[in-house]
Amino acid sequence: MIKHLLSTQQLSREDVVRILDTAESFREVGTRVIKKVPALRGRTVVNLFYENSTRTRISFELAAKRLSADVINFSSSGSSVSKGESLKDTALTLQAMGADAIVMRHSSSGSPYALTKWVSASVLNAGDGTHEHPTQALLDLYTIRERLGSIEGRRVAITGDVLHSRVARSLSFALVTMGAEVTLVGPPTLIPPDAPLWGVNVSYDLDEVLPKLDVCYMLRVQRERQRQQYFPSVREYSRLFGLSRERVETLPAGAMIMHPGPMNRGVEIDSDVADLPQSVIEEQVTNGIAVRMSLLYLMLGGSSSSAFGEARADA
């Protein structure tokens, strides 16, 4: 298995299948009364978060705890970082303390790559700037596979601020690897001109795309993009690229609505659309724990007897 998870581009189809299959075994752990297996007992997982994040940090924390690892949460505010400590010195400190895995969230693209140069621990990218968010993409694949039974050949539209979205990159690369047909949708200012080289289609017309979809994936759009002149107004953006109740009607029966959260209700997605039965936004969150358990387990090389043996025995 891979040593570090920095980008979904490094994963083969076999890697992805293995991660999702392993996650399936762990999914059941979360339904037990005692939600814990001893797979990573005695191992140390550090959550190194330079950027605020509630769901990703909690999801990783729960995943590590359910595997019986010791978990340290390190956030930049109120730590040595706020006293001006450099990323390298923080990394060397964690290294000296014997971290086995470092889960890193950072606002600068590429920071997890720098971290791998300074620590021997496995590094998991939990979102770096506008680059990638590979665990989000894997939990999304898990959710699609669980709902639709397969990923290959599925038609997926990823709509919104692709240019600045780490989710869009990770998900596009992983979906293409798995043989899905991906269309990126948004205003031309927010889609990189070279995006088709990723193996995806590009459309500026959401209405044209919706009736053919298996998965309608909406991205968070930050209001500050208006100030930066990527689009004239939030109102116009929402009219052209927001998932309204009316637009949902044009989706084929059985199509899924997804969002990585946190949502801007009323901007990229209508409030009541987020709560429709087609929407799997909460399932995404639940599956996130199992997928992150799977990754920590596979990357830290826990023994299969201690993990699945007991998991299956309890089932």
């Binding site: 581009q9 450099s86 990323l87 390298k88 950072h106 600068s108 693209s109 590429g110 920071s111 790559y113 720098a114 770096d128 700037g129 506008t130 680059h131 990638e132 240019l163 780490r166 990159r169 990189p192 001109p193 070279d194 995006a195 080289l197 990723w198």
Partner: protein, 431 residues
Amino acid sequence: MPDRLFLKGGRVVDPASDTDAVSNVLVEVGRIAAIGEDAPAGVSVLDCDGLIVAPGFVDLHAHLRQPGREDKETVETGSRAAASGGYTAIAAMANTDPVADHVGVIEEVRALAAQAGLCDVFPVGAITKGLEGESLAEIGELAAAGVRLFSDDGRPVPTARQLRMALQYAQAFDVVIAEHCEDASLAEGAQMHEGYSSATFGLAGSPGEAEEIVVARDLALTQLTGGRLHLCHLSSAASVDLVRRAKAAGVRVTAEVTPHHLTFVDEDLSTYDTNLKVNPPLRSVDDREALRAGLADGTIDAIATDHAPHAVEEKEAEFDQSPPGTIGLETSLAAVLTQLVQPGRISMSRAIEALSSEPARILGLSEHGGPVAPGSAANLTVFDPTATWVVEAPFASRSRNSAFLGTTLTGRVVHTLLRGELTVADGKPTR
């Protein structure tokens, strides 16, 4: 130090006299005394068999950081890096602290260089006071103090009107206005060249057009004013085309390119190596090809290092927080030989012309850049064109942010002579 040195049996490559032949060179009291004669009795002999003897290199673009950031580089350490790379003259950029917009800083840098005695340093003057792009620096007074090149390097002169004035005003003193061409609004926040790689790496990009727009503006204004323009570190294919057409139309323009833009491309940033973060950014494979072709056909006159030392802790940081720049004085010859001469893209003579005689001409230096002929100042470099080495710290420079770290290059400086004195002997600085 002996008054006489005999360079025995080297291949003299001197574009200024159109020479490429194995010849002995006799140096006497700082000058070349004879070419092609036998060694006089009692002279110190440097065996140059298998080595190339060339006019000392001249760099149009080095940041020596003194005064202001002596933790990154000083005039002395920068001069030592220059001598190690075969340079006998370098132009020191004006973006120091305080800025070289008045004679005081110019004289300080010159005095420090004279004290170090490793390389002639020609301070560049600021075009605008404080590099703020508002009012012109006292170009006349700086010119009277011997400044030949003026630049607000790091940014262009912001408005067309200001640049027009600078180009016009400078003509009274026969000095050169050098521009860093970059449209600030297109380049805002950019970390690298805009394209497939920037989209994939999730880094904000700046397109080649950010440079080309300003190149086009500057060429138009040079034509309008009849002024004298030099374009720094060209990075894009379209810029090369613009310069080619302007030269054909008689515009008085020269241009430089860096060894790193001739070597690396945007894709090389896939591991977020901050030593490859430079400004202008490394661009596409097509851009690199156009730069190489432009250098070969003379559209681009000179190779300049844009030697930009930065502190270790600044470069060992998050990519978007690390300052742009690579050191370059100690690797330029080897990069040019490896990337251009060895593969047959340019001749050895053209490489030496671009490293020495052309930049000397642009700076108006009579004592540098050849000819390697009796009577000339003995500013020479002797290098081994076949020696292969791996670039690694330590450097003579105080900094180690080299884009070439870890790469294998061919070509190594053996001796450098500044007015007949060895500043580098057997690959090591003499002081």
